[in-house]
């Protein structure tokens, strides 16, 4: 599987040019590996024996019908799933080979390495733009005096928002448009210098132009971070990711280079889903 992922092959296995080269990869990015991962809400099992490798420095898209466990899966990658009442996880998730469920791991520190951006932009309502960006650092007590301005600018630039907000950093985050708010949330996630960015349908509340901005942003972040993005928009998955994982009923059905998965999936269930033959 991995060798195929690295081939970046399209259906024909021979394409070259910008459509294949478009997305940078960062060979030294943090890889993630799930091994026999199971997740439960009380008695209800929602992930079944998920084993997959997420390549470091690459963008991996997670697709699948509603309720198949996409959100649960990425919430297991930064130990957010277990925060729910009665929620449980078994199996292994390794970040660069280190088990994140080992007893010695501090979940709060882990979540700093593995940031999350949600479907609805959720800037802190009482905070201005600047404080929103710094909130992650402030909470974990890592904000050294004198660094703040630099971090705010760097994070907002990385989130492609700096030019739009540089003159109104003291205004409330909620005063921004939805797309700007989502980029503010990405800036907030980037401020703590994570290795991995998890995104759960980050564009589903945004209009096409705001969506294009986020997708462009993902392109610029690809290679610098390991990104896992859940999306219901297959064209979006096809555009922004190196690899795509298709989930069904809590199980991983197929993980393949995106260029291949959307042109020639191997599993007939993947084919049925992406061609719209379900239900």
């Amino acid at each position: 599987m991995e060798s195929e992922q690295e081939q970046e092959a399209g259906a024909l296995g021979m394409a070259s040019g910008s459509v294949l080269r478009g997305l940078p990869t960062g060979a030294d990015g943090t890889s993630i590996e799930a091994l026999g991962l199971n997740a439960y809400y009380g008695q209800k099992q929602v992930l079944r024996e998920v084993s997959m490798k997420i390549r470091g420095g690459c963008v991996t898209a997670v697709i699948g019908p509603s309720g198949c466990g996409k959100s649960t899966f990425i919430r297991c990658l930064n130990r957010m799933h277990e925060l729910g009442a009665g929620a449980r996880v078994t199996g292994r998730v390794a970040l660069d080979g280190q088990d994140i469920y080992a007893p010695t791991v501090d979940p709060a520190l882990l979540r700093r390495r593995v940031g999350m951006v949600f479907q609805e932009p959720n800037p802190f309502p009482t905070m201005n733009i600047r404080d929103n960006v710094l909130s992650g650092l402030a909470m974990t007590g890592r904000l050294a005096a004198g660094q703040a301005d630099e971090i705010v600018e760097r994070s907002l630039r990385a989130a492609a928002l700096w030019e739009e907000v540089r003159d109104k950093l003291k205004e409330p985050g909620l005063g921004l448009s939805g797309g700007q708010q989502q980029r503010l949330c990405i800036a907030r996630a980037l401020a703590v210098e994570p290795d991995v960015l998890l995104m759960d349908e980050p564009c589903s509340a945004l209009d096409p132009i705001a969506t294009a901005r986020i997708e462009e942003l993902i392109h610029t972040l690809a290679g610098k971070f390991t990104i896992v993005i859940v999306t219901h928009n297959m064209q979006q998955a096809a555009r922004v990711s190196h690899d795509t994982a298709f989930f069904l009923g809590g199980a991983l059905v197929e993980l393949a280079p995106t260029n291949r998965l959307f042109t020639s999936p191997r599993d007939s269930r993947t084919e049925d889903y992406i061609t719209g033959k379900f239900g």
């Binding site: 195929e4 259906a11 959307f262 084919e271």
Partner: protein, 233 residues
């Protein structure tokens, strides 16, 4: 491929696209058939009728291209749907060329009818029957996405090539031995070349059937080498 699209309108649009392509392909087949029958019968009227059919095939090409563009824009197809539409865009070109070649055959009928009859015409008719049989097999392979049939078509292109070389050579010998036959001999050689090229387009059709059905590109590789193909697993 048995499962249907949840969106039945999309399902209907795709079937219509396939049916329209098959219709266009059959129209081109009829042109090949009538052009050669006009050739054998030395029938100028039938030759002119063949020429007239070309306009309809050209219209098919434009309409099918437009259907493909609209489907791409409206449906943003994936996987086998995407492969199908991409392939139809190419096949309309192949089929349009087949119709053009049939037209070229019909044009030669007009020239040949100004000359004395040619002895080899029965062999030309036989070669045409072979080409048509294989071309219609490739259409059937497309209509049912039958990869076994498609592979047979690809293999049988050698039969067409053999017939072409035999006829080409016997015309050449004829022309050398009797220079009075050179003009008609060259016309007949052109006709068999057109038929041979029709066979090549039928092969393209069959190769594309395999791509739609299996996502496997067998062009320029030959059927034998496909195991070592794109991405092993």
């Amino acid at each position: 491929m048995q499962r249907r699209h949840t969106d039945s309108a999309f399902e209907a649009e795709l079937s219509e696209l396939c049916e329209r392509l098959v219709l266009m392909a059959e129209r081109a087949a009829v042109m090949v058939e009538t052009s050669v029958s006009a050739l054998v019968a030395r029938d100028t009227v039938q030759a002119r009728q063949t020429l007239a059919l070309d306009a309809r095939v050209n219209r098919d090409e434009l309409e099918l291209d437009e259907m493909c563009l609209l489907l791409l824009a409206k449906r943003q197809p994936m996987a086998s749907d995407l492969r199908l539409i991409a392939v139809v865009l190419k096949l309309v070109t192949d089929i349009e060329r087949i119709a053009d070649l049939a037209k070229n055959v019909a044009e030669r009928v007009l020239d040949l009818n100004a000359e004395p009859p040619v002895r080899e015409m029965e062999d030309v008719a036989q070669m045409c029957a072979l080409v048509l049989e294989i071309y219609r097999e490739s259409i059937a392979a497309f209509a049912t996405l039958d990869v076994v049939k498609a592979r047979t078509v690809i293999e049988r292109d050698d039969e067409i090539d053999a017939a072409y070389h035999t006829l080409f050579r016997s015309m050449l010998l004829q022309m050398v031995s009797d220079t009075a036959t050179v003009e008609r001999g060259i016309h007949v050689q052109s006709v068999v070349k057109y038929l041979e090229r029709i066979g090549d387009h039928a092969t393209n059709l069959a190769e594309h059937v395999i791509f739609v059905a299996e996502g496997l590109d067998v062009r320029h590789r030959g059927l034998a080498s496909q195991e070592g193909g794109s991405d092993g697993q």
